[in-house]
């Protein structure tokens, strides 16, 4: 990633593409794009990666996370008139962090590993909820419709899954 940003290395960009593009395509197809649309969205997402490479900060997010957010936003731009509403990092109204984040001490890499381990350690029904949410672009109300579970059950299962994931991540990083 650094070689892409600083040296504008096309060889490094090719390696990034080889690893991430097929995964982004898999993600986009699961979340409802047909194959040609998924290929085009991958192209557009990777163009953004190339053009904004220097804005990527490895201290703030993993490459996988950054790629995911770019592909997700591209997907939303494709079907909505407005871009995804996001906070403005230069907004004078932005409330400052009250104290240094834990992540200042714990690296993005360790956090990513801890999250991966936590997903593997979650009970299957909870992990499945999270996969439904991310892979299939299901809002929690739609998960309720699809699974036939009451909305309250979906909410509490998602909260349980996320709470458990957080607990596992914190334990591993402590």
């Amino acid at each position: 990633m650094r070689a892409v940003a600083e040296e504008r290395s096309r060889a490094a960009f090719a390696r990034l593409f080889a690893h991430f593009a097929p995964r982004l395509k898999a993600y986009l197809m699961r979340s409802g794009s047909d194959e040609p649309a998924a290929e085009e969205l991958v192209q557009e997402a990777m163009m953004i990666v190339w053009r904004r490479a220097e804005s990527f900060d490895p201290k703030q997010a993993s490459v996988a996370t950054w790629m995911f957010t770019i592909a997700r936003n591209k997907r939303i731009d494709g079907y909505r008139r407005n871009n995804r509403p996001e906070l403005d990092p230069e907004d004078p109204a932005l409330a400052p962090q009250p104290e240094p984040m834990q992540d200042d001490q714990v690296g993005v890499r360790q956090t990513a590993e801890a999250i991966r381990d936590a997903i593997a350690a979650l009970p299957e029904e909870q992990a499945e909820m999270l996969r439904l949410a991310f892979y299939e672009d299901k809002a929690h109300s739609e998960i309720a419709d699809q699974t036939g579970l009451p909305l309250g059950t979906v909410k509490s299962r998602l909260r349980l899954a996320i709470g458990k994931m957080r607990g596992l991540v914190d334990d591993e990083l402590r």
Partner: protein, 243 residues
């Protein structure tokens, strides 16, 4: 997005040294925002709260990271053979998109007339079309004003202004209602809510919020089902307001 979440900010924020909010977004709503499944109204609510709440920014960043890990762990699907060659060719194209599209959505504000406003975060100003003093309030009854914000999708997003000390008629909702305080505050049976706080209610909640004394309470209310007024006055009002 996560890159923003952990950025240290030294500007004098809307918090102005105030403690972070006490009432936060539920995890399932942050998850819908991270996955991209939240519709525009709910996304606007989340982005506005994240501006005012460093705690939820951290939680949202963690869910973005979860999305990154889940996507990276997917079985890859091969692209067409010439996909990378086509991409390289496109990199050489001059950038034809307008400059504004080159920047991420969160950086575009400021280019569209948004600026400093002690009440409305910029992401919300984009929907209002200006600062708080530019809002064309419309009376809703009982001294309460509102303005509907243009969002696509199933949710409705409304800014509400309730006079100081005034009670909103007792009501329940079909679906969920999220109320984010931007100015002033209100209390109901579930607590006291001030700037940055979110109250999430579903159809099981029948409440009667009362605005704090001191100044009008301005809130962003996002509902994914119609509101039902339950008090006697409220039932009469039901015929007139379709909030």
């Amino acid at each position: 997005m996560s890159a923003i979440a952990k950025r240290k900010v030294t500007v004098d924020g809307g918090g102005r040294g105030a403690p972070p909010p006490n009432h936060h977004l539920p995890d399932e709503v942050l998850l819908d925002y991270a996955s991209g499944a939240a519709d525009e109204g709910v996304s606007l609510l989340v982005a506005t709260h994240l501006t005012l709440c460093p705690i939820c920014r951290g939680r949202a960043a963690e869910l973005d990271a979860l999305g990154g890990e889940l996507v990276e762990s997917l079985p890859p699907v091969d692209l067409s053979d010439d996909a990378f060659a086509k991409l390289l060719a496109r990199l050489d194209e001059p950038v034809s998109e307008p400059a504004v599209a080159e920047r991420s959505g969160d950086e575009r504000s400021g280019a569209d007339g948004t600026g400093d406003d002690a009440t409305l975060p910029r992401v919300l100003q984009r929907y209002v079309g200006g600062a708080v003093q530019d809002i064309a309030w419309q009376p809703l009854g009982l001294g309460v004003d509102h303005v509907e914000l243009p969002v696509e999708g199933g949710s409705r997003a409304v800014l509400l202004r309730v006079p100081e000390g005034r009670a909103v008629p007792q009501h329940t909702h079909e679906g969920n209602e999220y109320v984010l305080v931007l100015q002033g505050g209100f209390s109901d049976a579930h607590g006291h809510f001030v700037r940055g706080d979110v109250e999430a209610s579903d159809e099981s909640v029948d409440h009667r919020p009362v605005a704090d004394a001191g100044e009008a309470c301005i809130c962003l209310a996002v509902t994914d089902g119609p509101l039902k007024l339950t008090s006697l006055v409220g039932r009469a009002l039901n015929r007139f307001v379709k909030l």
